[in-house]
Amino acid sequence: MKRVILSIAFVVAFLILITPITAIDMESSRFKIESANTSSAAGNKASTNYKLSDTIGQVAAGEFSSTGYVVKAGFQYINSVIPFRFTISNTNISLGNLVPNTPSTATTTLTIYFGSAGQYQVTAIEQGPLKTLSGNSIPDTACDGGANTCSESSAKTWSSSSAYGFGYNMSGNDIPVDFSNSTYYRPFPDTTAAESPAIVMSSNNVGSNRQSTMTFKSNISPIQPAGNYQTIINFVATPSF
């Protein structure tokens, strides 16, 4: 009798205390499966009416034909479960209280996962220069000037405390080669000047967790009016075709 009671108590305790089973990310030192979407449906299927081929882990991945249209979703030559993902670590970049002739910097981290996307690019463009509501603006940087005059497509040294403006530096993965070190800056292209967005990250190689740091820098002159200077930087991450 004692054994029966003990057995029942054991079963009840097991049922009550059992921990729920939840989905987890699967990873080791060599791989990580994000979202654990492990549908094993990849491959080619066909009947008399249709032909379907799909790649694993994509919601609408596949190719099918019927009367009037053919659809292919996803890159057919890549079998990856890593979705195309774009992360910005900090959306509000605070340069603090700007002091004349004292450069102020702030950073944000851009991260791209693009296993299923083949290759990618991230572009950046500003919606006008940093300016106040009353219309005072901090011009885009030209870096140190002279031989070190930078442009939207060419980074140059910006280390002089008497060189004023607003610009950015890049470091990390898949960045433009002209950002030789942390003193190299470019101005942002400007939508109000009808300029094209600058590519700040890109890669032809399939990968994940590609990370770069964008450093924003501003240096103002002693005659810069006081105010709350703001603008919007528009980042666009797209896969290739």
Partner: protein, 336 residues
């Protein structure tokens, strides 16, 4: 009475201290606003007859802080030969887009909380009378920037994540395939008399560039291989990665040494040959673009010789001869 007052004061102090302790122990750390968006599928290729429509389910997920998103479409064009794109400001061409979602519309903001996903049911329609040809678009999920709350100077960021849509409109189902190899050669930085020379050191890595131009009105997808053929007929095949070449554009065609597109490659070359080479090598390519398509052929060659090794050997032998001649040769005076 005094004792009662003092007791009440103590209680208040103890409660305040307890409250402070709890606040300090169990407060949630404040972190910067983070955006983290994903979209699937990353690309869509559609061949469609005028007058037809198709509905595609996209999944937009938010792994960052809660965001307000707007779904919109813009046209794009190729930016260079390497697969980069340039987005345009609006939609061009005859293709019509709308969302079949009951609660979300294009160009209208919607809220997505942390960890949530939103399915976007995109209906793509080629109207009757739409001209045959290709039309390229990007579906963007765009965040709405939030104002700086601390009043300090600095930019706000807006993030968009995109998925490309390649639409081919054809009323007959016939695809216009007109490819041309515009460049197929090994790249050597050395020049002689202002001419590129195709001579390499045996230990050099040898980059190859294959650029195909699509002169047709529809996108094409190259398939085939690049072959490296040695002096004695030994051969290595490098399968071509079938990346789209958009209409009336050129693209660097990439090949993988292991048929594994996940490997790291030089970004400006089709492939890079590495190993020990000696003698003359032929490089050929055969490219087709699907069933009943023309096959393109191209060939080039290069010569490899161990120049560096030969130079080292020559110098070493010269040095040995010099040392032996200088220090170990019989003294002529002594012989006399």
């Amino acid at each position: 009475m005094k004792y009662l007052m003092s007791n009440a004061k103590n209680k208040v102090v103890v409660h305040l201290l307890l409250l402070c302790f709890l606040c300090l122990m169990f407060h949630r750390p404040v972190s910067a606003q983070q955006i983290s968006l994903s979209i699937t599928p990353p690309i869509l290729e559609l061949v469609i007859k005028p007058g037809k429509s198709v509905m595609i389910a996209y999944q937009v997920s938010n792994q960052g802080d809660p965001v307000i998103l707007t779904a919109k479409l813009v046209s794009f064009e190729p930016r260079d030969n390497f697969g980069k794109i340039r987005l345009k400001d609006g939609i061009e061409g005859p293709i019509r887009f709308e969302l079949d979602n009951s609660d979300i519309q294009l160009e209208r903001p919607f809220f997505l909380k942390t960890g949530a996903s939103q399915q976007l049911l995109l209906r793509i329609r080629a109207p009757e009378g739409a001209a045959n040809g290709d039309y390229y678009y990007t579906l963007l999920a765009e965040t709405t920037p939030v104002d700086n709350i601390d009043g300090t100077a600095g930019p706000k960021t807006k993030a968009s994540i995109g998925s490309n849509i390649l639409v081919t409109v054809t009323d007959s189902g016939v695809i216009d395939i007109r490819p041309k190899v515009v460049l197929f050669e090994v790249i050597n930085k050395l020049k002689m008399f202002n001419q590129k020379i195709k001579i390499f050191d045996s230990f050099d890595k040898i980059p190859l560039v294959l650029i195909v131009e699509n002169k047709g009105k529809n996108l094409i997808k190259p398939e085939g291989k690049i072959s490296l053929i040695g002096n004695f007929g030994e051969r290595i095949d490098y399968p071509i990665i079938p990346k789209n070449i958009l209409s009336e554009s050129q693209r660097l065609v990439e090949a993988s040494s292991s048929a594994n597109p996940l490997e790291q490659r030089e970004t400006s070359y089709s492939t890079v040959f590495s190993g020990f080479f000696i003698g003359q090598y032929r490089v050929t390519t055969e490219i087709n673009f699907g069933e009943s398509s023309p096959t393109l052929f191209a060939k080039t060659s290069f010569f490899a010789f161990p120049f560096k090794l030969a130079a080292v050997l020559f110098l070493t032998v010269g040095l040995i001869v010099f040392i032996v001649g200088r220090f170990f040769a019989p003294d002529s005076k002594e012989q006399q």
